[in-house]
């Protein structure tokens, strides 16, 4: 605590608790002017809470924040912006029905005329090489473009500290490269950047310094360029990386799930259309679908599970039976179970008891209802069975799903489907926001189910996860599925290019990425 003026911002002994959780426990670190500082940690490690306190959305219970040597209290985001703190949110804070210009104006605290603002926006975009049409309505823009609005909005305030919360989770590798270039230009002007991520290679590439959080505590500080990804990962997870027991398989059974030329129009303003999707999964095989968020994964899952049936029955075959025109109930009876990406409100009803959540999807296969009436005691015993088999931490089958932690609820949801012993399991983002222990357990359960001869489709944005558990995989981009690749033969670069929509040409340059994403 001796240096004062050397740092742009210093956090000392920041503590923040919520009922039942200590989100930040005695967290301290400091960032120099012009430094790109990584805040590294798993989902739930307390990163978001910490930056919300820096940006004034929440107040710390204890501890001190010093801005350029002076102790401060950030009362609200407006005060943060006044200091010179800018923030780009993970979940964009945009207004869909308004124009880019209006969105940016809303982020400015000073009153400024439309024309002057537009001029300034163009200036900033020129300097940092960002492209945006100020008069477009946000709802018509791609995810990458939306992020650019957030960035421009932050840059217009001439920030001296820019916080980026998981900025790359929605970007292609090529868009990521472009973003990094912008950030480096910014840091060269003396602006500090706090970069939040759990992606190690990005941090190694971009950041000068890293603070690692685990369970709300700082567990390490390092220069990421001096560390290996493995050493940082171990700090982040705490202990050695668990290996999944999975044999390299070469022999599979007959095709159990065949998708042939599946197409579907997008629903509403934001739905992605699926076009000519084909793949097949054999008994015992785990098939991965990679891709950047928002490229049709949700639509694909719902089309495959039967949440949104299609008219042409032959496009999906389950053990040789045409099922594409059947709804999710009929498909479930035929042995297809699914786990959607979003736990809260999709895979599970938060206010319902676990037992009611079991009735939600298992009532037919597990005989939890008959003659239109619910068999509550059967539902409870099935629920208890899932809880004990999958080690779900809860007070019992009567507790509401919302009272479980993310990882435990995910274990319950996955367990609920796997214990119905499906012939085909569809699972999206199986370990999203789940701690390492639960993630390993879920991966193992998936691998075991495949061992028993089920066909499994895993949709994930986490490439490492797919590479670890899948036998074959393909990449989804703007509703189109790439050719099938054998895991172990495909390079990460190749997959990355497919994720950006570049098929076949590994030397594709930035411009063509731009074109691929301009609608």
């Amino acid at each position: 605590m001796t240096e004062k003026t050397d740092y742009r911002i210093e956090l000392s002994a920041i503590t923040k608790s919520f009922p039942g959780v200590l989100a930040n426990d005695n967290v301290s670190f400091a960032i120099k002017p012009g430094e790109i500082h990584a805040l590294l940690g798993e989902n739930g490690a307390g990163k978001s809470t910490l930056v919300k306190m820096i940006y004034g959305i929440m107040q710390p219970d204890e501890g001190e924040i010093r801005w350029e040597g002076e102790a401060i209290k950030v009362a609200n985001p407006k005060a943060a912006r006044k200091l010179g703190v800018g923030m780009v949110f993970q979940h964009f804070s945009l207004f869909e029905a308004m124009t880019v210009l209006e969105n940016i104006a809303l982020g400015m605290d000073a009153k400024i005329s439309q024309n002057l603002l537009e001029e300034k926006i163009r200036e900033v975009m020129d300097v940092y090489g960002l492209k945006l049409d100020p008069h477009r309505i946000v709802s018509t823009l791609s995810v990458g473009e939306r992020q650019r609005i957030e960035i421009v909005r932050a840059l217009l305030l001439n920030p001296r500290l820019l916080i980026m919360d998981e900025p790359t989770s929605v970007l292609t590798p090529q868009e990521v490269a472009q973003l990094f270039e912008t950030l480096r230009k910014l840091s060269a002007t003396g602006c500090s950047i706090l970069y939040i991520s759990h992606k190690l290679h990005e941090i190694k590439e971009l950041c000068d310094q890293a603070t690692i959080l685990r369970g709300g505590k700082v567990v390490g500080e390092c220069d990421p360029k001096q560390e290996t990804s493995k050493s940082m990962a171990e700090m982040m997870i705490g202990g050695d990386l668990k290996q999944i027991e999975k044999d390299v398989k070469t022999e599979f059974g007959d095709p159990r799930f065949v998708v042939d030329n599946l197409s579907q129009v997008g629903e509403g303003d934001f739905g992605v259309a699926l076009s000519n999707i084909s793949f097949s999964v054999r008994a015992g095989e785990i098939f991965g679908i990679a891709g950047v968020a928002g490229n049709g994964q949700n639509e694909l899952l719902m089309a495959l599970s039967g949440e949104v049936p299609t008219s042409n029955a032959d496009t999906i075959k389950l053990d040789g039976k045409s099922v594409a025109d059947q709804n999710i109930l009929q498909r479930r009876k035929h042995g297809l179970c699914a786990v959607p990406e979003e736990r809260n409100g999709h895979a599970a009803v938060v206010d319902f008891s676990l037992s009611d959540n079991a009735i939600l999807t298992a009532r037919e296969r597990m005989n939890l209802a008959s003659g239109g009436l619910i068999k509550h005691s059967e539902a409870r015993s099935y629920t208890d069975n899932v809880i004990s088999t999958f080690g779900v931490k809860t007070t019992g089958s009567a507790s509401p799903a919302g009272s479980l932690s993310g990882g435990n609820l995910q274990k319950f949801v996955v367990g609920r489907e796997i214990m119905q012993n499906p012939d085909v399991l569809l699972i999206s983002q199986p370990t999203w926001g789940v701690d390492a222990g639960a993630a390993a357990a879920i991966h193992q359960a998936i691998v075991d189910l495949a061992e028993n001869g089920s066909a499994i489709i895993v949709i994930s944005q986490d490439l490492d996860e797919l590479l670890a558990i899948c036998d074959e995989m393909a990449v989804i981009n703007e509703g189109k599925l790439s050719k099938t690749l054998k895991v172990g033969e495909a390079s990460v670069d190749e997959i990355g290019l497919l994720m950006g929509g570049i098929h076949g040409d590994p030397n594709a340059n930035q411009d063509s990425v731009e074109n691929a994403h301009a609608h």
Partner: protein, 360 residues
């Protein structure tokens, strides 16, 4: 205020059932004070409105016939509210149901037979359901907000009633009064307790509420209603169609309201008159909330509101309070219930010892 709210880990069941009681008690106290401030004898008003109808056994029959339509409508509405379907046009469905049943009565006015009354009731339920199918159609096909459409239809239905009373359905022997002829003996609900005004519709309303309780708690249909209301995406994933659920919720709500309408026309009124809409369709919304959207709670809520109606009439004659005075108490009950609702999910934490017990 130095009271802080702290989120409970799980909603409190105790508070869920205790808060309606707190709301009624708070209404009696604050209502009494309010009436006193306006210059009336506040506590006499509270006594006449809340106590007299209960201790005066002669008034029990009035309680029954006032509670019945409220309970019937509120049970139907509660199914919709649980499914997140905000049909607030029950008043209109009640009117149209009453009109549909009346239509049958006018067609059969020279006939006699046991079949006429059931036919009128069926027509009433269908009439109400059909009227509710307009917002259901607009909601499922065009995504039109059902709050607005069902409310607008209520006001349109009042005009339909006026039109029929002044025009085509006017009693030809009625000295040009805008009302229908009186129903004949085959067209009115029989008294079930001789010597009282308690008609068959009263026990039926209670029986329907109990059946609804069974269906909502034990059946897949009840489960479906709850899932669609709580988490539409999860409902689709569970294999329940949101559109079908909206339709069913609307038709049940409209059907029950329509049934209440014809019970009212064939019961207390025994004809159709322009004064037929008495706001039961709106008051039933209070009943549904006061009863926690639970059929058994709604029976109790319906009785409480019936007390306030009957008490309002008593106070009108004994204290000279205007008819609408009971509405103040009814609204306050809902205000207090909604205000104390927060105690179900949150607990109060007194930060520093401070007496700030003001409920509003």
């Amino acid at each position: 205020m130095l009271i802080e709210l702290e989120k409970r880990k799980e909603p409190s069941q105790t508070m869920l059932y205790l808060t309606p009681v707190i709301a009624v008690l708070a209404t009696m106290i604050v209502g009494g004070i309010l009436f006193t401030l306006i210059g009336h004898n506040g506590f006499a008003a509270v006594k006449e409105i809340f106590i007299t109808p209960i201790i005066d056994t002669h008034k029990w029959q009035d309680l029954g016939i006032k509670a019945a339509p409220l309970i019937l409508i509120a049970v139907g509405l509660s199914i919709g509210f649980r499914a997140n379907v905000w049909n607030i046009g029950a008043e209109g469905q009640y009117i149209v149901g009453g009109l549909a049943g009346t239509g049958i009565a006018l067609l059969t006015w020279e006939l006699e037979g046991w079949w006429i009354l059931p036919l009128m009731c069926i027509a009433g339920a269908i009439g109400g359901a059909l009227y509710a199918s307009i917002p259901a159609f607009l909601k499922t096909k065009l995504n039109v907000n059902e709050i607005l459409s069902s409310l607008m239809l209520t006001y349109a239905s009042i005009q339909l009633l006026y039109y029929l009373m002044r025009g085509p359905w006017k009693d030809p022997e009625g000295f040009n009064f805008p009302q229908t002829r009186l129903f004949n003996d085959s067209q009115i609900l029989p008294e079930i307790i001789p010597g009282t005004i308690v008609h068959l519709g009263v026990p039926l309303a209670f029986i329907i509420a109990i059946i609804a309780w069974f269906v909502m708690s034990k059946s897949i249909f009840g489960f479906q209603i709850r899932v669609v209301g709580s988490a539409p995406a999860a409902a689709r994933y569970g294999g329940f169609s949101a559109k079908r659920t909206i339709w069913m919720a609307m038709l049940i709500g409209g059907g029950f309201a329509g049934l209440a309408g014809i019970f009212e026309a064939a019961g207390p009124f025994q004809q159709m008159v322009p004064q037929f809409p008495t706001g039961y369709g709106f008051t039933a919304i209070i009943v549904a909330f006061l009863g926690r959207l639970h059929p058994i709670g709604i029976i109790l809520g319906g009785l409480v509101l019936a007390v306030s109606y009957v008490g309002g009439e008593i106070a009108q004659t004994s204290l000279g309070l205007p008819n609408a005075a009971a509405g103040i108490f009814q609204a306050m009950m809902l205000f207090f219930l909604l205000a104390t609702d927060i105690l179900v999910k949150y607990r109060l934490k007194l930060n520093i010892a401070n007496q700030a017990g003001d409920a509003s």
